[in-house]
Point group: C2
């Protein structure tokens, strides 16, 4: 279970590490689009776009559906909840360390006076 | 400026896409450590650990300092603030879309009755 979650985090962070893939998500966040509609404004080939979409789909960040000869892309099903939890947990740990450091410095000041 | 920020997001998300690198950050969050101290519990070579640390250092997630013959590693200076902002912004956009969809469904129900 933990192993599975770690792999999902790997895939999600990896998918988000590319500016074109983040821009695709931002575009799809405004509404679904076909692969051609996505490829055009980014100025990349259909093959290049399909590779990016595959990475996003493997991470669960994009879902695609073929209707006739057209493949439609949309956001989801993953909503970045786990990724946000990891980041918030890490930042809390950093803050707690800073708090403890602050207390330590206060104690040291107290001993000086 | 925007370009620079995008590259920083690329590097940060890329650095976080590996389970060993996330575990290194969690370990350093509890306090600084030498490269050898980090390598041992993970069961990886010093060379392997140095490669992971380089990726984390390039993303600003880890800083290292050489004292005599020992290299100390610590968290920072980056605190994942930008990454969290991107994720929160994306999730807000998804939520707003769901809200609009909900309103649309309510309107449709209203027209039916």
């Amino acid at each position: 279970m933990v192993q599975y979650q770690a792999q999902r985090l790997d895939r999600t962070f990896g998918a988000l590490s590319d500016p074109t893939r983040r821009a695709i998500l931002e575009r799809l966040g405004r509404g679904r689009a076909t692969v051609s509609e996505l490829a055009e404004p980014f100025g990349i080939s259909l093959t290049g776009m399909k590779k990016h979409l595959q990475v996003l789909e493997d991470a669960g960040l994009v879902s695609t559906e073929k209707v006739g000869r057209t493949r439609w892309c949309a956001v989801g099903p993953q909503d970045l909840d786990e990724v946000q939890q990891w980041i918030v947990g890490y930042r809390l740990m950093l803050e707690e360390r800073l708090d403890r450091l602050g207390e330590l410095l206060e104690d040291m000041k107290g001993q000086e006076s």
